[in-house]
Amino acid sequence: MRLEKCWFCSSTVYPGHGIQFVRNDAKVFRFCRSKCHKNFKMKRNPRKVKWTKAYRRLRGKDMTQDTTFEFERKRNRPERYDRILTEQTLKAIPLITKIRHERQKKHITERQKGGKSMSRKKDAKELEQDLQMLPKKDTVAYEATKQKVIVSQLKTEENLMEE
């Protein structure tokens, strides 16, 4: 038994789930559920479909390079059975997955860090330029802070002439 990855969304396919499609050139496509299978039949490219891991990795939204991924890489050379090695591997697996999850979370929070300052800048600009467009109740506090300067028109000879 081997836990495979779904060809479309890259999630793990557990035994008893999903469909395997064998193309005539003997390439096997494994799908975790009918959603992925149907998307495949529609000939959609997973790199363009937003909810797939392929898209997210391509766009840098998820972590791509990390040493924790090296552990899961498929090796075609069989290992001689060693009891101690197996025991250590089984103990290490939950640790490694925990570390990987921590790192992935960190990657995402790092990525989203610039967002708050950007939205603040945008809001400040909007208050400055488009004050009339915003609803009155939101801008009352802001308007109170602005000091009203009374501009008195200087009575010059020219103005008197206009009147």
Binding site: Q20, R23, N24, A26
Partner: protein, 110 residues
């Protein structure tokens, strides 16, 4: 075109992978040992309809394919195209599996 499934129970309507069928040739290339409208036996090797393995794996191929065999189960031809499942070996179709360009190992079926 399939006429009958050999060894099928009365309630089995359709043949699956590994079943031997009696078929008639509808279309043949000109200079070949077998001609159109000959009745032959064949074993099904690939189906578009997905089939369920004992361990829960569901497999679907890209086309329907059968290999023409004689009464004993040896293939009539010398070449086989496309992927063949290794499990056919257990059904005494070892020659077909050995001729296959690519074989697939699925754990167990039927």
């Amino acid at each position: 075109m399939c006429i009958r499934v050999i060894g099928a129970a009365g309630n089995q309507r359709y043949a699956r992978i590994g079943d031997v069928i009696v078929a008639v040739i509808k279309d043949a290339l000109p200079q070949m040992p077998l001609e159109r409208s000959e009745v032959i036996r064949a074993v099904i090797v690939r189906t578009c309809k997905e089939f369920k393995c004992e361990d829960g794996i569901i497999i679907r191929y890209d086309d329907n394919a059968a290999v023409i065999i004689d009464q004993k189960g040896n293939p009539k031809g010398t070449r086989v195209f496309g992927a063949i499942a290794e499990e056919l070996r257990e059904l005494n179709f070892t020659k077909i599996v050995s001729l296959a360009p690519e074989t697939l190992f699925i754990f167990s079926f039927i």
